[in-house]
């Protein structure tokens, strides 16, 4: 009983400290854990992987720096996958703090695409990524609902120029590309309610294939849309990003973080079990004390 009494009065900061130590130790020690595939992630990979070269994949980078931890690895791995497959990428960023991060990701990936790399046993020669040819970054416009509706008519309506100020008509990639009918799919990587608008105002109205990359907090909420066929795939949180990295044979920050996740979750589960046992023991003790009186 004494142990559980002490446990119920334990300062929560000791739990924080213990969790920090577990996370840092598992981060420092290098080891691998297996990644189990979920069909809702694999279907996105298979869809993009099966596209013929030259097709356009639209990636909506709709998150702020506070969601960067979970969603930035998704952006990196999907855009790199597209470019290695010689697909073109059309990018928007409908979250106000997103354009800077999107620009950073594009510059980083353009650099890494210069190198020869082998993915899933296949060699991909390095090449120069050219703005306006391999990708077009539309940038940010406020009021995402209206922007999503506007792009359904013509991308030039909300975005006459790209993020860097070039008119869309002057970009080779955008010749003959007008609206969602001209893209193979839309992948919305989002950390907020913009996803609702992509489903309602985008997919529902214009009927294009839509896949979602979501933060962990949001993921469970969007599974009904997968069941109803309104979205064809979901990547949920860091796990979803690591699964895509595994499929694309391109391990990055997400896969690196999952081994820490494993042990952090184990610690949290242990604390939940111990806390509940302590709670019930405490309740039983009070009950006995009341009966004794």
């Amino acid at each position: 009983m004494y142990f559980f009494d002490k446990l119920m009065k334990l300062d929560r900061r000791w739990i924080f400290l213990f969790l920090v130590l577990v996370c840092v130790i598992t981060y420092v020690i290098p080891f691998q854990i297996p990644t189990l595939m979920e069909p809702e992630v694999k279907v996105i990979y298979d869809f993009i992987d099966s596209l013929p070269p030259g097709e356009i994949v639209m990636v909506a980078i709709d998150y702020d720096p506070n969601n960067m931890a979970e969603l930035h690895p998704m952006t990196y791995t999907i855009v790199e996958h597209c470019w290695r497959k010689n697909l073109k990428v059309l990018i928007t960023s409908l979250s106000q703090n997103g354009p800077g991060m999107a620009d950073q990701a594009l510059r980083d990936l353009s650099d890494s695409l210069r190198l020869d790399r082998t993915y899933n046993g296949k060699l991909f020669k390095g090449r120069e990524i050219v703005r306006g040819v391999d990708y077009c970054f539309l940038g940010y416009k406020p009021y995402f609902a209206l922007v999503i509706l506007g792009m359904g008519q013509d991308f030039r309506l909300p975005f006459p120029n790209d993020y860097y100020g070039s008119p869309l008509d002057s970009l080779p990639m955008m010749q003959g590309v007008y609206n969602y009918d001209d893209v193979a799919c839309v992948v919305d990587i989002s950390g907020g309610n913009i996803t609702d608008y992509w489903i309602s105002y985008g997919q529902n109205r214009f009927n294009f294939p839509l896949a979602l990359g979501l933060t962990g907090v949001m993921t469970a909420q969007y599974y009904p849309f997968l069941g109803s066929g309104q979205v064809f795939g979901i990547m949920g949180g860091l796990l979803g990003a690591s699964q895509y990295e595994e499929l694309a044979d391109n391990p990055g920050l997400a896969k690196d973080g999952m081994r820490v996740q494993l042990y952090a979750h184990m610690v949290i589960i242990v604390f939940i079990v111990v806390g509940n046992v302590g709670f019930f023991m405490d309740r039983r003790k009070r009950k006995f004390q009341q009966e004794a009186r």
């Binding site: 900061r13 924080f16 920090v20 996370c23 840092v24 981060y27 069909p39 506070n66 960067m68 931890a69 979970e70 106000q96 703090n97 354009p99 940038g139 940010y140 416009k141 406020p142 609902a145 509706l149 006459p160 120029n161 489903i199 309602s200 105002y201 529902n204 109205r205 933060t215 962990g216 907090v217 949001m218 993921t219 469970a220 909420q221 009904p224 997968l226 069941g227 109803s228 066929g229 309104q230 949920g236 949180g237 860091l238 796990l239 920050l253 690196d256 973080g257 820490v260 996740q261 952090a264 979750h265 949290i268």
Partner: protein, 269 residues
């Protein structure tokens, strides 16, 4: 990495550690980081809105007009109408004229509602209802091809979704006492809801840990490794000086807190 870049990286590391210091208790470092984030976000948002909203959507479209004619001589003067509506919104700050702001507000809400209602009805109600009422796949009841309880397209999953939706709705039906068979269905509904909340909680835990992992990756890969990366062509002793200054600052704060804690403890005993 150049030294100036490393200084920014160090500042990022300092702000990261200052934010996490809140887990111990509220302190001036945390307050600084909190105010900085709010200030920078607001400032950044204003500039982004100016360059991506007002400038291309209003000023560039009226730029062939003259300000002394209030841009009425522009070839597209109708762009003045939304800008006027925008200005009318600001009358909310006046006690006497705040009623003026109701006009743009009414127009905005009217348009938004008109667009949203049919789309939301089709998206969140009709399509979800169709999916719930889909025919149960008896041929693949326990999974497609092989036994798989996690197969979301199996007949069992479809049956579970249907039963789960009905029982969860029954739980929220309060016009009849939750007793007998009705009570049993409502209890099953609670279990379904709890499983849903549990899934959300699990994902939330993963999200929060992900944020921490990302910061650890930043501190290690962007800050500590660069502080000791002698292979860097721009490397100098200043990299380590800055690094150790931050470490000393943190250590000093911890020592100060420990001393204060022991002083308070000895006073109370």
């Amino acid at each position: 990495m150049e030294f100036s870049t490393f200084l920014w990286t160090t500042f990022g590391a300092f702000v990261t550690l200052a934010t996490f210091s809140f887990l111990y208790k509220d302190n001036p470092f945390y307050k600084f980081a909190e105010h900085l984030v709010v200030g920078v976000s607001a400032g950044y948002f204003v500039i982004i809105l100016w360059h991506n909203g007002l400038e291309p959507n209003l000023f560039q479209r009226l730029d062939d007009g003259s300000w002394y004619f209030l841009w009425l001589d522009s070839s597209r003067p109708w762009y003045l109408i939304p800008s006027l509506l925008g200005v009318m919104m600001w009358t909310r700050f006046s006690k006497n004229y705040s009623w003026v702001s109701r006009w743009p507000m009414a127009l905005y809400i009217g348009i938004a509602t008109g667009i949203a209602i049919p789309l939301e009805m089709a998206n969140r109600v009709n399509k979800q209802l169709y999916a719930t009422m889909s025919t149960i796949d008896w041929a693949n009841f326990l999974g497609h091809g092989h036994f798989n309880l996690l197969d979301t397209a199996s007949g069992l999953s479809q049956l579970l979704i249907f039963a789960g939706v009905i029982s969860a709705l029954v739980y929220f039906f309060f016009s009849k006492a939750h007793t007998g068979v009705f009570g049993g269905i409502a209890t099953f509904g609670i279990w379904i809801l709890m499983i849903g909340f549990g899934a959300s909680f699990g994902f939330t835990v993963m999200a929060r840990i992900s944020l921490f992992i990302n910061r650890v990756q930043y501190l290690d890969q962007n800050w500590i490794q660069n502080a000791f990366n002698t292979a860097n062509e721009n490397y100098s002793a200043w990299f380590q000086v800055v690094f150790w200054l931050i470490v000393l600052l943190i250590a000093g704060y911890i020592v100060r807190e420990l001393v204060t804690y022991h002083k308070t403890k000895s006073k109370t005993t």
